[in-house]
Symmetry: C2
Subunit: 362 residues, 2 copies
Amino acid sequence: MNILTRPILEFNLNNLLDNYNVLAKIASPATPAAVVKDDSYGVGSAIVVQALYEKANCRNFFIAHAVEGEKLASLAPNAKFFVLQGIGDDSIALFKKIPQLVPVISSPQMLKFWQDNAISGVKPVIQVETGLNRLGFREDELKKLTPQEREMFCLVMSHLACGDEKDHFMNAHQIETFEYIKKTYFPKTPASLSASDGVFLGENFHQDLVRLGAALYGINTAPYRPNQMKNVVTVKAPVLQIAHLPKGDFVGYSATYRASSDRKIAIVSIGYGDGLPRSLSNIGKVFFKKDGKIIETRIIGRVSMDNIICDVTNVDGLQCGDIAYLADDFYTLDDVALDAGTISYEIMSRLGKNPRFDKRYI
Amino acid sequence: MNILTRPILEFNLNNLLDNYNVLAKIASPATPAAVVKDDSYGVGSAIVVQALYEKANCRNFFIAHAVEGEKLASLAPNAKFFVLQGIGDDSIALFKKIPQLVPVISSPQMLKFWQDNAISGVKPVIQVETGLNRLGFREDELKKLTPQEREMFCLVMSHLACGDEKDHFMNAHQIETFEYIKKTYFPKTPASLSASDGVFLGENFHQDLVRLGAALYGINTAPYRPNQMKNVVTVKAPVLQIAHLPKGDFVGYSATYRASSDRKIAIVSIGYGDGLPRSLSNIGKVFFKKDGKIIETRIIGRVSMDNIICDVTNVDGLQCGDIAYLADDFYTLDDVALDAGTISYEIMSRLGKNPRFDKRYI
């Protein structure tokens, strides 16, 4: 028996590389780019960028903010980092310092800013709006671009709203709009429309460059069929204590669980402070491996900042220091998200940013 | 007009110090200790510890994991850091290296581990279970302690389950149980029962030491009456783009919002990747300050990783680069949490861990 206190995050980089190669092959001959924003959805951008750059020859990365690229650029010296949130007074200094950073320009105001502050040798990306109604030039704004401005961009991009629903009417609407905008305003410019979800929607969605994000990290971006991606993230935590819960006793904050019979409970060293959603209170599943079997248990009471309490009445021989599985290949973050009432993207982006996790890379 | 891209987190350390002093005064003559686990609920432990140590003479800090104390101990050389998750094989090296770390022992197994690995000069804390049914010795385990073991601890502590509900029956039950355990097993040991919420429950809850956490950071831990704490956290983000939303158009992922009339929208540079709960989709409130007035607007469509979309039809003269307020003293994180279906603790613990935030301390 070991006494352990820290939660553990395991990332399988081999599976991540396999996912990248599978996605790149489906999208071929489109250029594959990796979306490593938000610390690579929590996996850790430095390690992900290095692996993709060195082992998969990836040369195009997407980040949200220039500051995210500050430490990454030198790890991938011949790569470009496209900055989705664009450029402004609060990031221009970084763009000047690191010419690998390429801004994505999404509005006439930002274009004006770029023209007043252009960095020689850098051709920016233009984002156009095709139905998501988020960032991007609207058509009345595109009409005002001069012929010279229409040829100043290295890439014209847009983003799908419903790419994870195969037959959603928005997909047809967006590709039609995108093709019209390309033909009308940017006939000579390479184009990108799809993130991971669009890769599975067919060849016309691939365009010249695909932006591989969620699926890279194992998320099922085509939930209308079983996941074709390999699992990347395993979330584990040790049992700190095992105790008897007498019939009638309450559990956790606000006493939201009451034992209807004598139970055995385990206090497990992970909580919402580690990124586990608090909405898993009284709902979340926790697994233990015993004698080659996977045993399912349930979180009882509220998830607290550092701990959860599990009903382990049905787990024989459990000891302090035994490992609880919160997510793994048999119960993925997509499954956790379903229980938590959100999407795995949100959970991933919260995990791993806390120094308390013992992070391990395979 | 500025073009800005980064979200901004502002922390008011003066208000934090004021909160500490108010709480310490209410709890006097009990010793005040500060709970700085989880990076001080996201505020930033290094800065919080330094401020409390130097300006408020705080000498007792609580953290969850030993690893959290690694960088803090040298900032507060004469302080102790009590480690709530205790000590084990995965943290013993740190305890040996930093004698300011004091483990909280919560189970007989962990006590055995401590006795096998005791660090000279360090007297640990014992945690006892009084109704939360989380970490702590149960009475059958206390009975087995030898007379010598009963006197080996520097502090006996427990934790309230329902301290934020003034008249909850659990409060009376827990204080009664705690007094009984103290008298029976630890008559000579200093005691601690209350976190911030217990401070407001009356003198008998104060014991010898109070653990000031949530209220320090401005959270209302006595929600049965108006908040007596000052606001510590302000969450802001710039408007990246303003656009026309035609009647009938959809907004955001999965097209969950459709405009029933022509609207004006703003794309604001903050999302769940920054810690804003995705459950604010189509619900969350966003504020703008114009001509000395605070104007309320609503998030429409889904919160995405880096952006939200707001209906700003009623905000005249809005420009790119204008600042949206997600939380401030007029709409605190407690209010955000109510809209998001969670508690402000969870939201706080997610904000600020992302390097993308421009963090400012007042």
